[in-house]
């Protein structure tokens, strides 16, 4: 259930690329158990924000707190291990691997078989492999890809690839799941299914940070929204309030949405 | 110059028992030309012998050459050595390089087959204690000092710079040279190294120019020695350049251009022009292969004769019997008097010094060891 405990709490994050100030002193709070939306026009800095908090791009400045602990995002894999997993806007699957194997890779950081285990296949290693396999298959079913386990990941259609990204991220057993435009390329009906999936994930105790351009989806499921424009936070609050914020309308929603 | 290496002998109808002689040299890679030269020499001898007819133990014998390519690679060398052993050759002429002759020698030794290298000059080759190992050339341990003496005594040099090509041969020779030349009081101002595929020596030569040696010694082949000589001249270096058998070829004159007047080099054997039958050999060689003798063709030529001589004396084509009589070899070959010491080295090693007059290799001195 929603609590006031802040799972992610970052303030004053800045990032510059040459002449572009992609993030300008951005702050964002994600309470445990909530779904927080991050929206804004194209090029506002949303993806960059993800890249910075997950350690992919070094931040120019910023204070980062995750689950009450202060961290400085430097190593992507460490961030994942600490419980923050993400998906990618331009899908990055392991194309040559099967759908199931993609998810099994996701289990990497929650399993421990080492070199000797791999070479000698101790009983404990075999048991671990077995449980990874079962867990991954279960996750595929969870996101609705149960029947595609043996297919090569790159042959999946676009929408299915997005689901696989989510399954793979879930396999890392994150506390916070950061999704970058999961609904892109889906039609309205598919978006409804996605919405169900996200709600179920939240119900299962996870927190979600969501970048999404689909207004009805975002407004429908987010507990709160933060709006970026030109790297700055221009509004933050409940969807209903943000939706009528004049600056947001001007920069992002457009008059048509009113 | 190549391409029809094997036709005539191969086509000869085999009437009589066939006796195989192996030959190994690199036929591919950077020094393929020297390898082919060696093979040609052996082939010429073999064809002559077949033509004249050879009878051993009352039976007519036809020799066939089994030519192999070791590509200068030690591992390949052992493989082809094994192949020759399997093919039941009575003896092997080769390999060309010390670096291949040494690992292969173990296999010939295990099989009890005579190996005569026409050109491996590294002293270690015969130091392994094998009864099967022979060579027809002097060693670097003789060639190096010969060159050193020339530098210190004849040229009266006070300072020398040494360059080698980082190969077993080039570096080995340069080491031997350095030892003696130092002992005779000449100062080695610098020791440099390039490699056997280099084309540009200007940096090294510039450095040497700075130390103003009287003489530059190069341990390496003609293909690199030529450009090196030429570039030295381009840098305005006046020092004399001396080198060993690897660069002592007619080719050097071509490759070094006018600068070749600066060069003195040694051969670990008798000079072709000083060989009694040298000119004749050269003519026959040219007729048969339509190319010039490079360096060691006379030695492979003789190596075949040495093997045949042993067959005759043993009156057998059994490798074991041939091996028994090998130490008693006494033959007056193309390259001079051939007899071996207990290790398999030439008793009368000869080193010939050359320089280049009118771009022609000219004998300067003959040193008997």
């Amino acid at each position: 259930m929603m609590s006031s405990h802040l799972l992610l709490d970052v303030t004053d994050v800045s990032k510059r690329f040459g002449g572009v100030q992609a993030l300008d002193s951005v702050g964002l709070q994600v309470p445990q158990g909530s779904i927080v939306g991050l929206i804004g026009p194209n090029g506002a800095g949303k993806t960059t924000f993800f890249n910075v908090i997950t350690g992919l791009y070094p931040a120019d400045s910023g204070i980062f707190l995750f689950d009450g602990k202060s961290y400085f995002p430097e190593s992507v894999s460490e961030v994942t291990k600490s419980g923050l997993a993400r998906t990618f806007q331009n899908i990055r699957l392991f194309g040559e691997m099967s759908v199931l194997e993609n998810v099994m890779v996701g289990c990497h950081c929650r399993s421990k078989a080492g070199l000797l285990g791999a070479i000698f296949r101790f009983p404990s290693t075999k048991r671990e492999e077995q449980s990874i396999r079962e867990k991954s298959q279960a996750l595929l079913t969870y996101v609705g890809l149960g029947d595609y386990a043996d297919m090569q990941a790159r042959n999946l259609s676009y929408g299915h690839q997005r689901r696989l990204e989510i399954a793979r991220a879930l396999a890392t057993e994150p506390k916070l799941l950061a999704l970058d435009e999961p609904a892109a390329g889906m039609n309205a009906t598919e978006k409804l299914e996605l919405r169900e999936l996200l709600l179920r994930i939240r119900a299962d105790g996870k927190t979600i940070l969501l970048i999404e351009h689909d207004v009805s989806l975002v407004m429908g499921i987010c507990d709160s929204l933060t709006v970026l424009d030109y790297g700055k936070v221009i509004a933050t609050g409940k969807p209903a309030d943000v939706r009528v914020h004049p600056e947001v309308i001007k920069a992002y929603l457009g008059q048509g949405a009113v | 110059a190549c391409g029809k290496g094997g036709d005539k002998s191969a086509a000869a109808p085999v009437d009589g028992i066939e006796v195989k002689i192996g030959h190994v040299a690199p036929l591919t890679g950077p020094i393929a030309h020297l390898g082919k030269d060696n093979e040609n020499g052996a082939r010429l001898a073999l064809e002559e012998i077949n033509k004249a007819g050879l009878t051993i133990d009352g039976k007519k014998v036809v020799l066939t050459l089994v030519p192999e390519d070791d590509a200068e690679d030690p591992k390949t060398a052992t493989q082809v050595a094994q192949k020759l052993v399997d093919a039941k050759v009575v003896g092997v002429v080769g390999h060309l390089n010390s670096g291949t002759s040494i690992p292969a020698s173990k296999i010939y030794s295990d099989a009890g087959i005579t190996q005569i290298s026409p050109s491996a000059t590294n002293p270690d080759y015969t130091k392994q204690g094998f009864k099967t190992t022979y060579r027809l050339v002097a060693t670097d341990a003789q060639q190096g000092p010969a060159l050193a003496n020339y530098v210190s005594k004849t040229l009266n040099a006070k300072t020398v710079a040494i360059i080698d090509d980082s190969t077993q041969y080039g570096k080995g020779l340069a080491d031997e040279f350095e030892k003696t030349v130092k002992a005779s009081g000449v100062k080695v101002v610098t020791r440099e190294a390039s490699n056997n595929k280099a084309t540009d020596f200007k940096a090294i030569l510039t450095k040497i120019k700075g130390s103003k040696p009287d003489v530059i010694m190069y341990g390496g082949m003609d293909a690199t020695g030529g450009p090196l000589t030429k570039q030295a001249a381009e840098l305005g270096i006046k020092a004399k350049i001396v080198g060993g058998d690897g660069m002592c070829t007619e080719k050097l004159a071509e490759l070094a251009g006018d600068a070749v007047v600066n060069v003195t080099c040694s051969e670990a054997g008798k000079a072709l022009s000083k060989m009694a039958q040298g000119a004749d050999f050269q003519k026959r060689y040219k007729e048969r292969f339509n190319s010039d003798v490079q360096i060691y063709a006379p030695f492979t030529y003789d190596a075949v004769y040495v093997l045949v001589d042993a067959m005759k004396r043993a009156n057998s084509t059994d490798p074991a019997k041939i091996l028994v009589v090998m130490p008693d070899t006494k033959m007056n070959g193309l390259v001079g008097n051939i007899a071996f010491d207990s290790k398999g080295d030439m008793k009368e090693g000869v080193i010939t010094l050359y320089d280049f007059k009118d771009k022609k290799k000219t004998v300067l001195d003959v040193i008997n060891m």
Binding site: N90 | A1, C2, S166, T199, K202, A203, K207, L235, G257
Partner: protein, 311 residues
Amino acid sequence: MDIFLQQIINGLVLGSIYALIALGYTMVYGVLGIINFAHGEVLMIGAMVSLSLLRLILSLTSDLPGWLTLLIVLPVTMAVCAGLSYWIERIAYRPLRNAPRLAPLISAIGMSILLQTIAMLIWSRNPMTYPQLLPSSPIEIGTSGATITGKEMVIIVVALAVMCGLLFLVEKTKLGRAMRATAEQTQIASLMGVNPNRVISITFMLGGALAGLAGVMIASNYGNVHFYMGFIPGLKAFTAAVLGGIGNLQGAMLGGLLLGLIEALGAGYIGELTGGVFGSNYQDIFAFLVLILVLVLRPTGLLGEKVSDRA
């Protein structure tokens, strides 16, 4: 005498030669993204073909001035090499366009062996002398004692000219844009009306012609040719191209020059720098260490773009 100045000159000349090869090499890489192991062999064939042409001309007349002979021989050689390069691409690379990344590397090696062997068949195994066409007597620079030859100056100038020409072509012309577009996304380029096969063929022919030019330059500089002469320059060009940032023309030039300078200064000064522990026998190590150092600091070479890996 100024040894240091002389070493710099040595390095610049050597570096220009590397640069000349690396330019053609890096351009081809830029379009197809493959290590063209056969580039050195095209260079070798160029040198060989030009030698045959020279012999032919010299057998007809012997009183043409060297530079004029060269001007006759060069275009023909470059055309032959362009043609050869075209066919290499057609045979060994084009069918592998969608194959795994390393497949063309192996077929390139096969091609390399093939060309070497063919050259060995045609032009013999022997190293051969290459006629002296450009002035090679040393010219002293001021009173420093350092010298440079006419042919060396020609090489530096040619390398610079080639770089400028290529830069203009690739950056400023439509063909260049088509080349870059094809390099990046062949299919999308074809959606712009670009015929990718044609662009790739043209690039290879250009690369071949440049290899031919480099072959003639190297042959006339060093005065000899051998069927094996392409291997090392090919390798050095690869090194130079990577050092500068592979696919980048200025990078190839810079990388080539730098590699030349490193080798020259390495050969000249390692001994002094290391108190005599290491000598010129370690010059290649020295070059590789510098290379590794550069790449550790700049993983995409000196001028290589930081390919923005957007996530």
